[in-house]
Symmetry: C2
Subunit: 155 residues, 2 copies
DNA sequence: TATATAGGTTTTATAATAAAACTCGCAAAT
DNA sequence: ATTTGCGAGTTTTATTATAAAACCTATATA
């Protein structure tokens, strides 16, 4: 139990925050998810200072969240694209956005995100148990290696 | 289509970031989820500067993320507790933590979070369609009011 | 009554952010 | 072929946020 509290400091939230905890990080990411690719696009959409934007993009590239490539057809242009690692931040970003909708702005803000296949709204991002029950903070518990039941197949 | 891009700036991510976008915000929140309640506990656990901690806690209270109450048994003491609004940040926080585990630190970091009922690890936080399919960014689309099919019950 | 504790505030130093002007390589127009 | 303009930054200077340390006040404990 004391062992749990001791190890808690080593959860990977601090590591995640190294790249995402800075101001503008989430907003640049959102813009990237919305299809922006170029320095000037980010700058004009967000109104961020150019030096800060340059710094953030460089940091994203360093951390493998975006990749930077020059466009052959117009060699002035650079494209920034989300890597798989960057794309993997989608649940985090949508969870934060949904929280903002529910608790800051007020529910039905348009446009809303829908499944492209059937046009229906996505679910609220939630913490789920292995069998799909929605979990709150009271349903959670920290476990050390020995305590965790291994998912043993029947055969 | 231009209408979608136009409205995009008004998604609630910026509103959410007003309280959560500052340095230390997620780490204080994590500590609160882990059962810390007092100023000195936060300070010692995180090593954050006292003035910054005071500022963050006050901000959380202002934004309704935590509530501040004094303890009757010892009137020096103050407890900070997560409100429902604060607790609702759990999916965001766990999503970010899981991302850090997967892409920054490397998978099996202990202790891990398990369902208190059966002791089994929780699922990865994901974006799901209305019928539970896992969605990536390519499966998502912005929709304006008219485009969204309403969930019409049969009767 | 003296001493320690909890939860801050104040002061001062340092680092991050912002606004504006500037640079440099390339492309397009004249 | 030269000028003009664009894309992607950098530099400079001003402002704001963060940090470390000392200090303060009300309460509790010895």
């Amino acid at each position: 139990m004391g062992k749990v509290r001791e190890n808690l400091a080593e959860c990977s939230l601090p590591a995640a925050l190294e790249s995402m905890g800075e101001r503008w990080a989430f907003l640049i990411l959102r813009a990237a998810f919305n299809g922006l690719h170029h320095f000037e696009e980010f700058q004009q959409e967000l109104g961020i200072a150019r030096n800060i934007l340059a710094n953030r993009l460089a940091r994203f590239v360093e951390h493998g969240i975006m990749e930077r490539a020059s466009v052959p057809e117009d060699r002035r242009k650079i494209v920034y694209n989300l890597t798989p690692k960057g794309s993997a931040l989608l649940p985090t970003m949508i969870a934060l956005r949904q929280w903002g909708e529910r608790w800051e702005t007020g529910e039905p803000a348009f446009p809303i995100l829908v499944d492209v296949r059937d046009g229906r709204p996505i679910q609220e991002v939630a913490v789920l148990s292995h069998d799909g029950r929605k979990l709150s903070k009271h349903d959670l518990h920290w476990a050390l290696p020995g305590d965790v039941p291994v998912d043993t197949p029947a055969a």
